[in-house]
């Protein structure tokens, strides 16, 4: 059958004049440019076949060498296995005979809107050329189900849009939160979003506030150009709002490595490269990542240009070694709207409380000592995510001495040490010396025999920057020796106090309070504090209490990793062969010459260029992705690669028409989707004749409507929806629905997955907690992307594991039981159930099969009530005990059958 198709293609080619970009460039790129391409010189090869002039000059030679019977001379060399087919040789010959006309690669030419056309006229024109005619329109119910699945990820219910025209129904769908959830789910794949860090231990991270930003963007139909700019450079916008900063989380969704022993520089390079590659794939449809180690072999990108892009993204002061658990700087607090209100309220009370404290004249010495949160060594255990203060009076007798410690006895071993080393005061927080530890020391040295007041505070940030050290109440300049604390430095050993008068506080004291402790406080503020503590202790306690409340509240506010430029730009270099430890020439930020010849100096300008008319790609690549999600295959099938190795668009005029329409509409996503789903092309029936199937198995010509299996999220979501279990709450932290026990534990030996309970079990799949090294099994079974790297091409397989999943997973069994209860309550019974799941009425034959199945199962379960009860026991939700057990069990099994129908999990 394949042969027939290939011949059909070849036949249609012969009939047309040669077009370089469609017919020749793919052959040259795939078979010739590996050697005769942009880096030919590096291989000692003189002839370039990626430029028009040398090709024109070598026309005769080319024709000879591709067809010579002399195997030693034939090109491409026989041993490469890249030889040309007879028809390819014929094509090249025709082109050479015509003078080898050249075109710039189509994707780098600006899109042109074909005048006076529509989606349908452009599709029809192609069909006419192929001698095909479009399919008739699908039935209204099929069409509504199709559109609803495409636009909301959930099917239309029977009768849901009865009082509306198709267009009104589409408008309604586009106005829902479900629409935003559907679009967000797709974007999360492209943005490689996950709730874990991805390497080794794969600890949890918190990026859902970014995910909710995306939801909100789709919900409010944020123009796509704005959508791009904010995610690429929201932090650089003038007066950037919290939301605009959150948007840049897009660029921090990549994996982060917290494994002990890694070389941080190696991963710093990975992170910046990932940002370049993601941007290239998702906005430019270009494989610029190939130029990381060498000039691109097929497309016009040099290695230097890769690093010019890299230079936009490597300057956020991040760590190469990410924290094993939690977010890694730079990150920001990202309170939700209710949290912002609450925070403002706490801060209001705090300001008021502070205002009530008026400075008064204090007499006598400043003797106040902070008493709040004072604890004792017996009671207190410091943790790596807790705030605390340790202070002591100390007289060093030698240059190296312990002051206060809670650690294993050996040198450099685990625990906390506040000590003197070679005269300098050190703080050591150690989980495993040397790669999981924090060490800072004072620049200043202490003199033996002199009495000091020593203190340090720690803010629970896991960072050296979170430590302050004071000598005699004055903050000291510190040297950071190790800044790799990644896990708790907990030990069983008690505190060792090598000094009298040790004070331990379960909060990080502000500098002034440390100064008081040291007896070094002075000035009006000190006077005021002293007054407060001595004359208005209650008011002071209230202030401290409110500060604590604010801190505690912030501890529960979600954070999100973001982009944040450091003040001092780092130099960027070409990395020779892509190796982090082999810097070559220095480069400055810039976009590849093929795109722009004006300076684009920073990330914000880059973002603006991405969505400018000067860039030929972002609009095309974006409309192609939307088209792919609706028709199953993009107009450019290689959605991730619009370059020379990518596929020629099946309908270039249509691609351009859509791109221009999208830009002209102000990058209006809803408008674009509506335009597509209202087209006659979209509304065709998906029935296919054997002839058409043989001619066009992937439906690239669009002589019929799309028919393909739902994606993983939709398969689960609609089962919950049919059964009435779906809990439709928008946004919030990720949730943990059912998952077979042991999946996490058997990989890591650590903590296992603990499913949530109640409503969290039934949220839409876009909210499911995504652990990269152990993704949700149903999602993985149904071809969801792994979220390791940016993925834009959709893939669909058909496997026995999917069958087992749908038949036996508790999610679908519980949904079947609940669906059974609905069916039993409905006067139309199984006919209703069938219609609900497929969107159409059952034929008499189909209904007969269902009714027969029901009778059989009922007879079985009436004989075996125990089995019936077992079948009804799956899932946390309670069954309706008013219904007869055998009857409900039989209905449950038939409902499961409905949920397993090919038609039920297929958009058609």
């Amino acid at each position: 059958m394949r042969l027939v198709f290939l011949l059909a293609c070849a036949a249609s080619l012969v009939a047309q004049p040669i077009e370089f970009n469609r017919d020749i460039r793919p052959i040259l790129s795939d078979r010739c440019w590996t050697c005769h391409g942009s880096d030919a010189a590096a291989k000692g090869i003189r002839l370039r076949l990626d430029q028009p002039e040398p090709v024109a000059a070598a026309r005769q030679l080319i024709a000879e060498r591709i067809a010579t019977p002399n195997k030693a001379k034939r090109m491409p060399p026989v041993h490469t296995g890249a030889g040309l087919s007879t028809s390819e040789i014929a094509t090249i010959n025709r082109w050479v005979d015509a003078g080898a006309p050249w075109q710039k690669h189509w994707a780098y030419l600006p899109p042109q809107r074909p005048a006076g056309q529509t989606i349908d006229s452009l599709v029809r024109a192609r069909l006419t050329k192929e001698g095909l005619s479009p399919a008739p329109e699908a039935s209204r119910e099929t069409l509504l189900r199709r559109a609803s699945l495409d636009l909301t990820g959930l099917p239309a219910l029977p009768g849901e849009y009865d009082d509306m025209s198709y267009e009104q129904a589409v408008d309604r769908m586009l106005s829902t939160a479900r629409y935003a959830e559907r679009m967000t789910a797709k974007w999360l794949d492209a943005a490689r979003y996950a709730d874990s860090n991805g390497y080794q231990t794969d600890g949890e991270r918190q990026m859902w506030r970014w995910r909710d930003w995306v939801l909100n963007a789709f919900r409010t139909n944020k123009p796509f150009d704005q959508f791009v700019i904010e995610q690429m450079a929201g932090d650089l916008l003038p007066y950037a709002t919290l939301d605009q900063k959150i948007a840049t989380g897009f660029q921090r969704n990549h994996r982060g490595n917290g494994e002990g022993g890694i070389v941080p520089e190696e991963y710093l390079a990975e992170y910046a490269a990932d940002r370049v590659e993601t941007m290239s794939t998702v906005f430019l449809g270009s494989t610029i990542g190939c130029a990381r180690c060498h000039n691109h072999k097929y497309d016009p990108f040099t290695q230097k240009e890769f690093y010019q892009l890299y230079a936009y993204f490597h300057n956020i002061g991040e760590r190469g070694r990410y924290f094993k658990f939690g977010n890694t700087p730079p990150f920001i607090y990202a309170p939700t709207e209710p949290q912002q209100t609450k925070l403002a309220e706490i801060e209001g009370r705090l300001t008021a409380a502070e205002a009530r404290l008026r400075p008064g004249a204090a007499s006598g010495p400043l003797t106040w000592k902070p008493s709040l949160d004072l604890t004792t060594p017996e009671k207190y255990t410091p943790h790596y995510t807790a705030r605390f203060t340790i202070a002591a009076r100390f007289t060093p007798l030698a240059a190296t001495a312990n002051v206060v410690s809670k650690a294993l006895p050996e040198a450099e071993s685990n625990g906390l040490r506040f000590e003197m080393k070679d005269g300098r005061l050190q703080v050591n927080l150690v989980m495993r010396w040397l790669d999981d530890a924090l060490r800072v020391e004072t620049e200043r040295t202490l003199s033996p025999g002199q009495n000091y007041h020593l203190a340090f505070t720690y803010d629970g940030s896991k960072l050296a920057a979170g430590i302050k050290v004071y000598i005699d109440g004055k903050p000291e300049k510190l040297r950071v020796l190790v800044d790799e604390l990644n896990q708790d430095f907990l030990v069983k050993e008690p505190f060792v106090l090598n000094a009298p008068d040790v004070n331990i506080y379960s909060r990080a004291l502000p500098p002034l309070e440390v100064a008081f402790l040291a007896g070094a406080a002075s000035g009006p503020e000190a006077t005021r504090r002293q007054f407060l503590e001595t004359t208005d202790a209650k008011a002071w306690a209230e202030v401290v209490q409110l500060r604590r409340e604010r801190e505690a509240f912030l501890d529960n506010v979600p954070t999100v990793m973001v982009m944040q430029e450091t003040g001092k730009p780092l130099d960027a270099h070409v990395l020779i062969r892509g190796a982090y430890d082999r810097p070559g020439d220095k480069v400055s930020p810039g976009v590849p010459a093929i795109f722009a010849n004006k300076p684009i100096t920073n990330r914000l300008d880059l973002a603006r260029w991405l969505v400018s008319r000067e860039n030929p790609l972002t609009a095309r690549v974006t409309v192609n992705r939307f088209w792919q999600s609706i028709f199953g295959v993009g107009l450019v099938k290689t959605a991730e690669d619009f370059g020379a190795q990518g596929e020629w668009p099946s309908n270039p005029e249509l691609l351009d028409w859509l791109a221009i329409e999208f830009m002209d509409s102000g990058w209006d996503v809803k408008h674009l989707l509506k335009t597509i789903v209202l087209s006659q092309t979209y509304r065709q029936s998906s029935r296919v004749s054997p002839e058409l199937l043989a001619r066009d198995p992937e439906n690239r010509l669009l002589a019929r409507g799309p028919r393909f299996r739902l994606d993983a999220g939709a398969v689960r979501d609609q089962a919950l929806y049919f059964s009435g279990l779906l809990v439709e709450r928008v946004g919030g932290p990720s949730v943990k629905p059912y998952q077979p026990a042991g999946l996490w534990k058997e990989l890591s030996g650590g903590a296992d997955y603990v499913p949530d309970s109640g409503e969290a079990l039934y949220r839409r799949s876009v909210y499911t907690f995504w652990k990269r090294t152990s993704p949700p099994p149903t999602m993985a079974n149904f071809d969801a992307s792994g979220r390791e790297i940016c993925t834009v091409r959709e893939s669909r397989t058909n496997t026995p594991l999917q069958a087992l999943n749908l038949m036996n997973d508790v999610t679908f069994l519980e949904a079947a039981r609940r669906l059974a209860e609905k069916i039993m309550a409905h006067p139309a019974g199984l006919a209703y159930g069938f219609r609900l799941v497929t969107g159409r009425a059952a034929t008499p034959d189909e209904l007969a099969v269902l009714l027969d199945a029901l009778e059989r199962h009922r007879a079985t379960y009436e004989k075996d009530e125990f089995a019936a009860r077992n079948l009804l026991a799956h899932g946390d939700s309670r069954r309706n005990t008013d219904l007869p057990v055998a009857d409900l069990a039989a209905h449950t099994l038939v409902s499961s059958l409905l949920l397993n129908l090919d038609e039920g999990i297929t958009k058609e």
Binding site: V263, D299, E746, L871
Partner: protein
């Protein structure tokens, strides 16, 4: 027409040429992956000269400025530490095997040792990912999924690529594994490894739910096929025919997998061969026995992952236990395969993601020491499928630090494994992001010296 026929020109080429490029020596592979990185110094790479150099600094001439992990890079001293375990020459071939592996020692004449494996990564995640996918970063297909894609399955009732996991008793808080290690990367997900589990269903969602008997399931599937066939006749979409077939395969798996994983009919002497842990579900020993049963049924790529080899500290006490886990079952598997005539066409591979340093990590006492990661040399052995028997290949220096003869890169090992399966590693390709990707990237040479 099957969808996969249209994945790409390369895929079509691969499938169209009749799977193999030349007559295969191996019909299947059992890969016993030792996760965490076993020390070559305590097991197979005998270095007598170290005995006299205990505590001596690692000479700069040997280290040659090579990069170390962040765990020991700032260590102020790199004292050499010899193996605490004695070595002997074994069998006719005289292969050096330490006393930690008495059973493997007995089958030494069946083994082909590669002393000169080397890799590029120095940390677990990138190194294991490299071994599994030929690339240090996640995103590419695993070796088993490449083979599944290239050769398909020999058994219509079982997946082509099966994975089993066990936790060792050496380092019990050892390195985690990741689903992507047997994932399909950019290949379609149908080629990913199927994990056989010792807890719950052996294959996820395999068992009929409580309350559904096999007879009920059969009639359910008949009804489903009827309904799906109506639809197939109506729309003409061949995907529906495929779906019907996949449900039938699922049904067959419901029988074939429990039959496969049910060890109750194995006689006592077989259990005895695999050692005392063979009756403990989920142990390495039980997984070895299952591997043989999978091999008998024609599963193409069977991969065990045994965790617990990451001996940074307390190596002597940990490695004793860890070797106890694997020694007898590994030898038992090889003997069992040989006895059944399966070793002829089954390639067995044993090894981890890198080696361990000759210098001590952390505290060194009379009977305690640790070893850090060492990518520059380590030992892997193979058996069966016409690789040389009783053979050692490659040499390291007196410190087991550098390779002095016949280095074998991870890509070379991959190329050799594919070669034994009858696949030219340069021709097994898949086009993605404009490139024809291979398991071996643009590298790899078949190590013909290993083949008989």
């Amino acid at each position: 027409m099957k969808r996969r026929d249209f994945l790409s020109a390369a895929a079509v080429a691969t499938l169209a040429r009749g799977a193999t490029d030349f007559a295969p020596k191996a019909k299947r592979v059992i890969y016993l992956f030792q996760s965490g990185a076993p020390s070559q110094l305590e097991t197979f790479d005998y270095k007598p000269a170290l005995e006299k150099m205990r505590g001596v600094e690692l000479p700069d001439s040997i280290r040659q400025g090579q990069r170390l992990t962040g765990m020991t890079a700032t260590q102020t001293s790199f004292p050499l530490v010899p193996s605490q375990f004695a070595f002997k020459q074994r069998g006719q071939s005289g292969a050096w095997v330490s006393d930690l592996m008495p059973h493997i020692a007995k089958v030494a004449d069946r083994l082909c040792f590669i002393k000169s494996l080397h890799t590029e990564a120095i940390n677990h995640d990138p190194a294991v990912t490299f071994f599994q996918t030929g690339f240090q970063l996640a995103g590419r297909p695993s070796i088993g999924s490449w083979i599944s894609y290239g050769l398909g399955s020999d058994n219509k009732d079982l997946p082509a690529f099966v994975v089993m996991i066990s936790q060792g008793t050496g380092n019990v808080a050892d390195q985690p594994l990741y689903d992507r290690l047997w994932g399909s990367g950019f290949l379609p997900t149908k080629y990913q490894g199927v994990k056989f589990r010792s807890q719950g269903d052996p294959v996820l969602f395999l068992k009929n739910p409580e309350g559904v008997t096999p007879a009920t399931r059969r009639s359910y599937l008949d009804d489903l096929a009827k309904l799906n066939t109506f639809k197939l006749n109506d729309t003409g979409d061949p995907e529906i025919a495929t779906r019907i077939a996949q449900y039938e395969m699922a049904f067959r798996m419901q029988t074939s997998v429990p039959e496969l994983t049910d060890l109750s009919k194995e006689p006592d002497h077989v259990f005895a061969r695999y050692g005392p842990e063979a009756r403990t579900p989920g142990s390495y020993a039980a997984n070895c026995l299952l591997a043989r049963r999978l091999a008998e049924r024609g599963v193409r790529f069977i991969q065990l992952f045994h965790r617990g080899w990451d001996q940074h500290n307390h190596l002597p006490s940990q490695i004793v236990n860890q070797c106890l886990d694997v020694d007898q079952p590994t030898a038992g598997l090889i003997e069992d395969l040989a006895e059944r005539g399966l070793l002829e066409d089954t390639l067995v591979v044993w090894g981890g993601e890198f080696g361990r340093t000759v210098y001590c990590q952390g505290k060194m006492t009379a009977d305690d020491y640790g070893r850090d990661h060492h990518p520059r040399c380590f030992t892997v052995f193979m058996a069966g499928a016409r690789v040389k028997r009783g053979f050692s290949f490659g040499e390291t220096d007196d410190f087991s630090y550098n390779i002095v003869k016949d280095p074998v890169h991870v890509h070379d090992l991959h190329a050799t494994i594919l070669h034994q399966l009858g696949v030219d590693h340069t021709k097994l390709t898949f086009k993605f992001q404009g490139r024809h990707f291979r398991l071996t990237d643009v590298h790899g040479n078949v190590v013909r010296s290993l083949l008989s």
